[in-house]
Amino acid sequence: MDSSEIIVTIAGLALAAFVVWYFFFSARQTASAVSSSGGVQEVDITVKGGYSPDVIEVERGKPVQLHFYRDEENSCSEELLMPDFSVRRDLPAFQTTLVELLPQEAGRFDFTCGMGMLRGTLVVK
């Protein structure tokens, strides 16, 4: 092994480790719902290459309004899926789309883009 091979190997393994840590194990941005005067839990979510925040905490048994603002034209994020709530919604670009839910059970429910690449979680407590 010459020196450049050693450098490439170490750099490659380090990069691979970084990819694994960064995408699977690093901390996520969490937001708790804000209850409006009417008892409705509201959360604003920006959609741009992902969902921010991507972990949303709400209380069970109270209506939830999720305002998805899609801040891009990229086709990846054009659909929103919340299979546990039977939601498939088109998110028009640069507009806010309202999704209303009434979570009855506690648990973690994923929401994704149409192809399951962009991911977020609704945590019902």
Binding site: E5, Y22, S86, R88, L118
Partner: protein
């Protein structure tokens, strides 16, 4: 819904400021006490109040006052944009995006078509001698830049946005792959000396970069076009909604108004050839209405006063008026659209594995690509190790296709739920669709599914020496006074024969036996044999024999006596639908055992079962025991689909692996069932099961293809076959394969559009 009693109106208010259930109670109390309010109902969860009030004494303004007095507010309702309008807006955006994507594609193709032959010059020594390599590379760089910055920009911005959110998608793979090829080429162009000093050829990969982007964009163009077609069914459902209605004002004048302004209780006129504006009940006139768009029933349905009509159906022959009973989101069409939309948003259990793989797919592929680079760099000969490591790194990134995995199940579910709706088969969710393909036993609740569910006169047999027509007139005159279901059957039969109605007097119902009245001055009796015995009417041998025959056919027998003399027997039975036998045969041909269940006695059950070709049946099943029968079949290891009317058999429908309600879309049925059959005939059961089987087959093909494509493609791109056969995959070929893979999955799903119920 029954029309609201004497002139009340209903208002829905959006209440603001309620924080708890007791607030809702306070608002409700305040509204109920307001003058003119008949009833008020406040839903805390939806923040809506539904108020019934007398128009003279209350108005929306006074109702609002009552809410404000209680300390809360009323939100002004923005005019509801209809689902169709929203869809139109989304479609407009999508069309724009499609046009833009096509532009980007053509720019990439145009430039790639120049870059490719220029790059090939290098393979041509004679040409090479005349061209300055350095300048050629700069030229290629200039041509590639627009491909990257205009055509491919979205990949890079999307990958970057995703990276910031710690998420990776298909664009990440393309961006890293083409980005690496481009940056290497850029370095080789700007600083070729550096490469030469390290014993490397300053090779450039501009053609690879441009071609990959062009091919991936081609894939996206095809994909977008195909994807629009997956939701075509629901879009065509939405477009059925009528835009205007012709209202008949109380004064009698007719006026066209936008559909949004139509309110409950309005009277709407429908002329031949017009669309029915919304749901209602016919008040006068008659016609035939084409309901195929909602129920899949191809024959027009006759409508007369008292019959329900539905928005979006097409009036054929006559003109009629109807009173509006449902508007907006409550109409049948809106509920069908909602149900199909919900089903399309649900997740099939079969998808679980693909979901898990998608979630970790892209980062995993990136790691594999990095390891590929390292291994090639470490193992290949020094002179070629860098270009080999680079091209294989790029090929791995480009060939991997998470889209095919992600699209495999949902696209098939979307096409198939839409297709079901076309046939009047409404599938609640993807799970129901998936389960239906495992069904090997169909349990039919006889009444209302195999049979029409209402008694009908099958035989009217006068005694020798009597004529049928005048006797039928007498019988019908009596039965018109009665509310017994058997009496209604006689009346329907008489109406169908166009027997003129006679007046009847002194009507009396005789509990458990029948009824008596005086018609045309004569005493008429209709009832069972006990009635005749009690009234000391003797039966002739002829009539007795005819009655025996009817009983042997498991029919109910009614005896008619006039002036103390038995004159006719009537056979009444719940008749089998014309389509039942054929549908049951088709189910059996699909390898499904059809079992019947009924509350009737064993003799009736056997007759009906034989008539439609059913071998196994349960007779004398009490309504409460239906669910237990389902369990009994399940205990035999069967996967049971239960078919009922959705009203009396909700527990059995719930107990079954799949519950199908044949309620023609009643609320109860739609709530209780996994699958609702809009058309009252068993053909829908065949359609549902056949559609489910074909859908699952398609999904399996898709998933198989997507998994095999990726598990074979990635190792080959990484160069796994190189040690054995010397095969390497060019990144450009990888791009072509990737572009085609997601399109193939989509195209396979779209094949479901050609599903036909007649198989």
């Amino acid at each position: 819904m029954s029309p609201s009693p004497e002139n009340t109106e209903t208002a829905t208010l959006d209440i603001e400021g309620m924080t708890c259930a007791s607030c809702a109670a306070a608002v409700e109390k305040s509204l109920s006490r307001a003058p003119g309010v008949q009833s008020a109902l406040v839903n805390f969860a939806t923040e809506k109040a539904t108020v019934q009030y007398r128009p003279g004494q209350a108005s929306p303004a006074t109702l609002k006052e009552a809410v404000v007095n209680a300390g809360y507010g009323v939100a002004e309702r923005a005019p509801d944009t209809s689902a169709a309008d929203r869809q139109a807006e989304i479609d407009r955006q999508k069309a724009l995006a499609y046009a833009k994507l096509k532009r980007r594609f053509w720019v990439a193709v145009g430039l790639a078509a120049v870059i490719m032959p220029l790059s090939m010059l290098m393979l041509w020594p004679a040409a090479m001698a005349r061209v300055n390599m350095q300048w050629l590379n700069y030229g290629l760089l200039l041509l590639t830049l627009p491909v990257l910055l205009y055509s491919g920009r979205e990949f890079y911005s999307s990958a970057w946005n995703g990276f910031r959110h710690r998420s990776a998608n298909m664009d990440t793979l393309i961006a890293v792959g083409t980005g690496a090829a481009f940056l290497y080429s850029l370095a080789a162009t700007v600083a070729p000396g550096f490469f030469v000093r390290h014993g490397l050829l300053p090779e450039v990969y501009y053609d690879t970069t441009a071609t990959i982007i062009a091919l991936i964009l081609l894939g996206k163009v095809l994909e977008l076009r195909a994807k629009t077609q997956t939701s075509a069914a629901i879009r065509s459902l939405m477009s059925l909604q009528a835009k205007t209605a012709r209202l008949v004002r109380p004064g009698g004048q007719e006026v066209d108004v936008p559909i949004e302004q139509v309110q409950l209780g309005d009277v709407v006129l429908v002329r031949p050839g017009e669309k029915v504006a919304t749901d209602g009940v016919v008040t006068d006139g008659q016609s035939a209405v084409d309901e195929a768009m909602l129920t899949g029933e191809s024959l027009p349905v006759a409508k007369k006063a008292g019959d329900a009509v539905f928005g979006a159906t097409l009036n054929k022959t006559g003109a009629f008026r109807f009173r509006v009973t449902k508007v907006g989101a409550d109409t049948m069409l809106a509920r069908i659209v909602k149900l199909v939309e919900d089903a399309q948003g649900s997740r099939a259990p079969i998808q679980r594995l693909a979901d898990k793989v998608s979630a970790i797919f892209v980062p995993t592929v990136v790691v594999i690509a990095i390891l590929t680079f390292v291994l090639w760099f470490d193992l290949a000969p020094v002179s070629t190790r860098l270009p080999l490591a680079l091209t294989n790194f790029v090929a791995v990134l480009i060939i991997a296709c998470p889209c095919a995995l992600g699209l495999a199940t949902p696209t098939a579910i979307m096409v198939s739920t839409g297709k079901g709706a076309e046939y009047g088969v409404l599938i609640r969710n993807a799970e129901a669709l998936e389960k239906a393909h495992q069904v090997n036993t169909v349990l039919l609740d006889k009444t209302g599914t195999i049979t029409r569910g209402e008694p009908a006169v099958t035989d009217f047999l006068p005694a020798p020496g009597h004529e049928a027509a005048p006797l039928l007139q007498l019988a019908a005159a009596l039965e018109r006074q009665s509310e017994h279901p058997l009496a209604e059957a006689v009346v329907r039969y008489a109406d169908a024969q166009a027997a003129p109605a006679l007046p009847a007097a002194d009507f009396r119902a005789i509990e458990g036996k029948g009824a008596a009245a005086t018609v045309d001055g004569r005493a008429v009796l209709i009832g069972n044999q006990r009635l005749l015995r009690d009234e000391s009417v003797a039966l002739s041998a002829d009539l007795l024999q005819q009655a025996e025959q009817l009983l042997a056919q498991a029919k109910t027998v009614l005896y008619v006596a006039v002036a103390g003399q038995a004159v006719a027997v009537i056979g009444v039975a719940d008749v089998v639908r014309e389509t039942s036998k054929a549908a049951i045969q088709q189910l059996q041909a699909l390898g499904i055992e059809v079992v019947m269940m009924t509350g009737d006695n064993a003799r009736t059950a056997a007759t009906v079962a034989a008539q439609v070709g059913i071998g196994r049946y349960f007779a004398e099943v009490l309504p409460g025991d239906k669910a237990a029968k389902v369990k009994e079949l399940q205990a035999e290891g069967r996967t049971v689909a239960m078919v009922g009317d959705g009203i009396n058999d909700a527990p059995a429908l719930a107990q079954a692996d799949i519950g199908l309600a044949m309620g023609g879309g009643t609320d109860v049925a739609m709530e209780a069932a996994d699958i609702t059959l809009m058309r009252s005939d068993l053909q829908g059961v065949v359609t549902a099961i056949a559609l489910s089987r074909q859908t699952i087959r398609t999904i399996r093909q898709n998933l198989f293809f997507a998994f095999v494509y990726n598990t074979l493609g990635i190792p080959i791109a990484a160069g796994l076959l190189y040690p054995f056969f010397g095969w390497l995959l060019s990144p450009m070929l990888a791009a072509g394969a990737m572009a085609l893979s997601s399109v193939s999955v989509l195209t396979n799903s779209l094949r479901l559009r050609s599903f036909s119920a007649k198989q």
